[in-house]
Subunit: 469 residues, 2 copies
Amino acid sequence: MSKPTPLSGFPELLPAQRVVEQQVIDTLRHTFELHGFAGIETRAVEPLDQLLRKGDTSKEVYLLRRLHEESAEGHAGLGLHFDLTVPFARYVLENAGKLDFPFRRWQIQRAWRGERPQEGRFREFTQADIDIVGRDALAFHHDIEVTRVMVDALTRLDFLPAFRLQVNNRKLIQGFYAGLGISADDGSTDEVMRLVDKLDKLPVDKVRDLLLQDAGLSVENADRVLELATIRSDDDGFVAAVRALGVEHELLDEGLEELAALVRGCADLVSDRVRVTADLSIARGLDYYTGTVFETRLDGYESMGSICSGGRYDALASDGRTTYPGVGISLGVSRVVVPLLARTGLTASRSVPSAVLVAVVDEDSRATSSAVAADLRHRDVPCEVAPDPAKFGKQIRYAERRGIPFVWFVQPDGTHQVKDIRSGEQVDADPATWAPPAADLRPSISTPGVEARSARTSTTDIINSEETP
Amino acid sequence: MSKPTPLSGFPELLPAQRVVEQQVIDTLRHTFELHGFAGIETRAVEPLDQLLRKGDTSKEVYLLRRLHEESAEGHAGLGLHFDLTVPFARYVLENAGKLDFPFRRWQIQRAWRGERPQEGRFREFTQADIDIVGRDALAFHHDIEVTRVMVDALTRLDFLPAFRLQVNNRKLIQGFYAGLGISADDGSTDEVMRLVDKLDKLPVDKVRDLLLQDAGLSVENADRVLELATIRSDDDGFVAAVRALGVEHELLDEGLEELAALVRGCADLVSDRVRVTADLSIARGLDYYTGTVFETRLDGYESMGSICSGGRYDALASDGRTTYPGVGISLGVSRVVVPLLARTGLTASRSVPSAVLVAVVDEDSRATSSAVAADLRHRDVPCEVAPDPAKFGKQIRYAERRGIPFVWFVQPDGTHQVKDIRSGEQVDADPATWAPPAADLRPSISTPGVEARSARTSTTDIINSEETP
C-alpha cells in the first residue's frame, strides 16, 4: 500500500493536536455537567424523511447503502445526520414517556454534510450541543440559562481569543415589522429578514433598493427596517433606541422585554474576554427560531463566521398532541479547533499522556521497572516503561521527543531517582509516594502563535445610523 | 410527526443508561492513559478499496452517497469503517513521519456493519481499541503489555461479571502443524484451523471426519491436531502437554516460548474475577494474526462470544519499504454494555449529573438560588436550579424523580439548609464551603440483577483428552 493522502473535508489530528481537541471536549462536558445537563448520544443515522424536513440542507445529506444491496432505496432510506438537533428532537419524541421535563442534555458528536470543504467547514465535524426542552411549556429563564452555560464553557477554554455573543429576538423583529404593517403571513417578513441579512456583504443603499424593489416596502418602512438593523448595545440601552423609532406592537414589546432580560441576565459574565451584545442585525436563523437567537464570533477570526449559534424553538418537537418547546446552542468544535491549530500552532506540551518514562537497565530487570510503573499508576500518575534497555541518554531522548517531563531510574543498589529532564534536576524518589507537580500530571496546552488581543476595538454602546429621525 | 420507533441494530440509551456507558468509556480511557497510550480519532469514512482489503467483510460495508449526486461511484467510493484497525493502519502510514515509534494509541469510536442485528451484534456500535505499533520491529514484551493493560481496564469495570482471557499463538499452531507435515503454503494449515474452530459447535468425531475428508489429513495427524486443541492451562503447564505429543519444529518452539511468557507475564493479575488461560483451541482470527491471539469471555455470558479480541500482526501496515508490526486488542463496548443493561437492569443512581437541586422560593429570588448554584459549581459540585417556584414538596419530588440526592433551601432569614432527601436529614450549610460526600459527586452504578458468581467452576489446570498417548 502506498502512502495514503488525506481526504479533503475529513480532518484528522496528530496525537498532540488531539490532546487539544480532547481537552476542549472535556472542558465542555465538565461545564455542561456542572450545570446539570445529562449527556446523551444518538445514532449517526436517521430516516431520510426526517433529514429532509429542513429542505434547504437536503442536498448535503449523505445517504447510506449497503455494498451488495440491490437498490439504494432498499435500506429504508437512511442518511447520516447533518446536525444534532434533528436527532435530538426525534430522541425526545421517541422517549418522551421515559424522560423528565424540563430535560437538559448535552451531546458532543460528529455530524456529516456533503458540502464543499473550506476553512472551518468540513464534511465530517464535531459539534457540542446543549438544549433544554420542556413539555407543553418552557419558562423564558431557560433562555438565560443556556446562554450562561455556553458563556461559562467558552470562558473556561482559556486559549480561545476574546469572543462576542450576539443576541437578538425574533419576536422583536417580527413585532417591529408587524407594527410597520409588513405581514408575516404572506412571507414578506421572511423576505425582509433575508435581505437585511445581506447588510454584512452589500452596501446599505443596495440593500435599501432590494427592500423597495424585491420586498415591495415603502421608502419609509425600508428606512425604519434599516435603522432597526443598526441598533446594538452591550446593555439594555437598545430598548430606548428601538422605542425612539416610534413603532408599536404587542409582539415587539414581548421581544424587547425578553432580549433586555437576556442581556441583563448575562451582564455579570462580561469581562475582558467576553462580550454579550444585543445586535438587531442578526437575522440568520430567525426563520427557524421563534424567540431568542444567538451567534458568537471570535475576535480576530470574524472570517470564521459564527462558531456557536442557537436559539429558542417553540416547537422543537411535536407529535400532534404534545409540543416540546426548546432552547439550545450548538458549538462547532471542529470549526474552532481545526483552524486554531492550523493558524496559531496551538499544541500540547506532550504527545502522550505519560508524565514519567521508567528507564530499563536490561531486559532481565524489566519487571522491576514495570513494578515502579505500577506503583505510580496506583496513584494515578500516567507513565510508560522504556521499550528497550538502550543507553540512558537514548532513553532520555525517547522521553524528550514525546515531551515526557520525568525519567525514572532504578539504581544498581536498588534505590530510585527521578530526573526532571527540562531542568536536569535529579532527586531520590520513592515509587510508593512520589508524584509529579499537579501541573505536569496532564499535558498542558500552549498557544505560541496567538497575538495579544489588547488592542481590541472598544465597545460602542449604541450605534445608530445618521439617518435616525 | 408521529412517535418515531427505534431502528433495529442502532441502539440508543436513555440518560441513566448512558451514564453507565459513559463511565465504562471514562474508565477505559483513564486506564489506557495511565499506561501511556495516546488517544486518537480517525474519520468515520475510508476509501472503499481500503475497506475491501479484508475480503470477507466486504458485504457488510455501508457506502456513502450524496443525495443529489449523479452516481454512487461519483463520491470517490467512500464507505463507513467497520472496525478501528483498518483506519488506524492507514493513519499510521499516512502520518508515519510525524509519529514516534513504538506508538501506543487508544481509540474509542463508533463503527458500522450492515450485518443482521442480534443480541450484542449491532449495525452501529462503539469499540475501544488499544494497539502498540513499531517501525520495522516490535519487541515481544509489548504483547504482554497490551494484555496487561486490557486486563487492568476490564478489572476496573467492577460491575462486570468475572471474565476469562483465552490466549493462543499462531506460531505454536502453525509450527505444530508444520512439524506434522501439514503445509502452510498450500493453505492446508488455514483449512485445518478453520475445521478445528468448529469444535465448539460440532462433536469431536464429526470434526475428525472433516479433518480426514476435507483437509486430507492422515488418521494419526488428525488425532494429533485434535489432541493439541484440547490442551489448556492457567499456567505454563501447557508446554509440557504439547511436548508430550512428540511433535518438533522451530516455529513450535518459538510459539511455546511466547505463549508461556505471556501466561507467566500475566500471572500476578489473576484473581477471583480474572483468569488468563492458554487455550490451544482458539483458532478464530489465527489467519489474520501472526503470533499472539486473544479472546475474552464473560462468565455466565458465554453466548455473547468473545467481547474483547486481538493479537499480533507482523505487518499492521506497510508501504512497501517500511513495515509497521503491531499488537492490539479491541473491546466491544456496545457489545458488552447494551446486553448487560438489558439483562441485568444495570443502571445509574441518577439520570442527571446534578448532585444538588437548589430550590426556588419565587421568581423574584431566582437570582439568589442561582448564586448558590454558582458557588457550588465553583467547587465542582454539579447542580441545577429548580425550574419553577412550586411548593417545596413538589420541588423535592422533582429531585427524587431524577435521583438528585440533595435539595438546597435558602431560608426566609437568608440562612441556608441542605436536605439529604434519602435520609431526610436537613442541616445548616454554607454555599461557600459545603460539599456532598465524595461518593455522591457523580452518579454511581448499581447492578441489582447480577447474580453472585461464587459458584464458578474451578479452574482445571490441564485438561487432556483420554486418547493422549
